[in-house]
Symmetry: C2
Subunit: 344 residues, 2 copies
């Protein structure tokens, strides 16, 4: 394998804990800023946004920004604009979640009723728009128009990714590169821009910004491939959403593409009837899982995610040499491996 | 009346034509930029956005930006960033229209099928998000972070206005000030920010920026009050949408508030059953129009719009004295009067 598994060389088990630990101070600032900046004179906004944001998630995306800033500077004052940017990143992400749940008609996210299930689609669309606009206000406050441009471009690419996803929905013969385009846009680009923005705003050199950009992109790819693979294995309790949701929604993901590529005629007929035509019968999810198992499609997907996680770690090479940045670089490489191993 | 009707003093009939004429050069640039910047590798985006944007409208909001820039500078190069900002303003407006049509489940806008009627709600939500993100990319290109902050704040206030509107929907006893808050947010703030951004980006003095800000705000108020009043009088052909839509959607607007305030018990019962409970019967729209006529509620609303139009013109006083800016100031004052007179 061409890339080096830095975390494994260091003898560390894949874990998010060291990273969470190192970033806890700045992330406390982000969490406080999130609560403060979702406020509005219009009570529904903090209510609805708070329901989504308080229900948690790992805050992986703002952690990218905070990690980037810490990589760029050990001085808390220099990192202060990154706190605003990290909050903006979480708001952009939250806005897309609110709109996604409207589009997918989801009723459950992170083990809770979705905002659209509780307040209706109208409120979710509008509060999503509000968080999106507020994100740009925060970026303006951060004061760096180059960084703002980076995040604005990411926001546009996210929607392009989501629309591409709509276009391949129900097409079980989707080429694998089209799938990678979708997840790069809908997921990896925000991880990438978040990480790059964090270090860029501290005034770091271009090659360091680029290293964090690549790290975020590779981590984001690993993250989404795993998320898609787990949809066919996890229970609702593990996922915080309903297992098999992607199947019912006719979403085309890496496991189904691999199984389609290697499938025989009856299997392809099955995928066409279910993913293609949404003509579902009792027992179809179990049948889908059996076909995926026959082609080892979930494990092969996890292996692809793992390769991206390794590439994420490898991108951090410029930070591995310096005593100040090496521990954080190791923690980030480790977090990438964790993202590709969370099934175990 | 405390404010001066400058256009009427100049003996001009309310018309948009002189303004359109003066701005035609820069607006041609805006129209070209709109077409260019709605492009994407994802074909659905230019298709759907093009359907909405090509179907026209008067482009009043980008005209505000272009007018502001022209007020600030006679030099085309100095005005170039304003072309990008005007395009951004139209994209923000288009995004809100796409989302509004999803929320209102509208099937008809400007005499055409809505995008959601043709492509579905999912596509409208996502393409709206794309246009919103693209708007911020354009603002970054324009290169002035103060101006960007002004438009980002406006974007947040728009959604606050829309959510406030949701909150008063179905409440016929809404106080008139709550209605003014709604339309200030959902409509006037964008007119205002658009006009101020256009002149601000040319480096004009603060009091001139403020004059254009107030002009845009007052014009926006006049515009929305008229739009709401016309909903009870115009035919589908005049409006490009279905007459009585607001009534069926239980929207609370100035005519219904005035009629409620002056209404007797049976009338209030009628408003409660219809606007309040959506318990509609055959002939209710005609009945609503009869009650509004009894209280002269539409004409009284038009008079309020007219007052705002006069205030818009009065705000332009600083530009009336200079030979270079006076003709444009007169055209703008005239356009404001036109906005409050388009029923006739």
């Amino acid at each position: 394998m061409p890339v080096t598994n830095v975390a494994r060389e260091a003898g560390e088990a894949p874990s998010l804990a060291p990273l969470i630990d190192m970033l806890s101070g700045d992330m406390a600032g982000v969490n406080a800023t999130i609560l403060e900046r979702m406020e509005s004179e219009v009570p529904l906004i903090p209510q609805l946004a708070g329901h989504l944001i308080a229900s948690g998630g790992k805050r992986m995306r703002p952690m990218m920004t905070v990690a980037g800033a810490m990589m760029g500077s050990h001085d808390a004052a220099t990192r202060a604009p990154a706190i605003l940017l990290a909050t903006a990143v979480e708001f952009i992400h939250s806005a897309t979640l609110l709109h996604d749940d409207v589009i997918d008609e989801s009723r459950l996210r992170r083990g809770q009723d979705t905002a659209n299930a509780l307040w209706g689609n109208d409120a979710s669309v509008l509060v999503g728009d509000f968080l999106f606009a507020r994100a740009f206000e925060l970026m303006v406050e951060a004061g760096d128009i180059t960084v703002l441009g980076r995040l604005a471009a990411a926001a546009a690419e996210i929607t392009e990714g989501e629309i591409r996803q709509m276009a391949i929905t129900g097409q079980p013969d989707t080429p694998v590169d089209d799938y990678f385009d979708v997840i790069r846009g809908k997921t990896a680009v925000l991880f990438s821009a978040a990480a790059a923005a964090g270090i860029e705003v501290t005034g770091a050199p271009a090659e360091h910004v680029e290293a964090m950009r690549v790290y975020g992109m590779e981590l984001g790819m690993a993250f989404q491939i795993m998320d898609d693979a787990l949809d066919y294995t996890a229970t609702a309790a593990q996922m915080g959403k309903n297992a098999g949701d992607d199947f019912i929604d006719q979403k085309i993901t890496l496991p189904t593409i691999l199984a389609w590529q290697d499938g025989d005629a009856p299997e392809r007929e099955f995928w066409q009837r279910t993913l293609g035509s949404a003509d579902f019968e009792e027992g179809d999810l179990a049948q889908a899982q059996a076909i995926l198992a026959r082609h080892d499609a979930v494990n092969r997907s996890v292996a692809v995610a793992h390769d991206h996680a390794l590439a994420a770690g490898a991108a951090l090479a410029p930070f591995m040499e310096e005593a100040r940045t090496a521990p954080l670089a190791r923690a980030l490489a480790n977090a990438a491996l964790f993202a590709a191993h969370r099934a175990s």
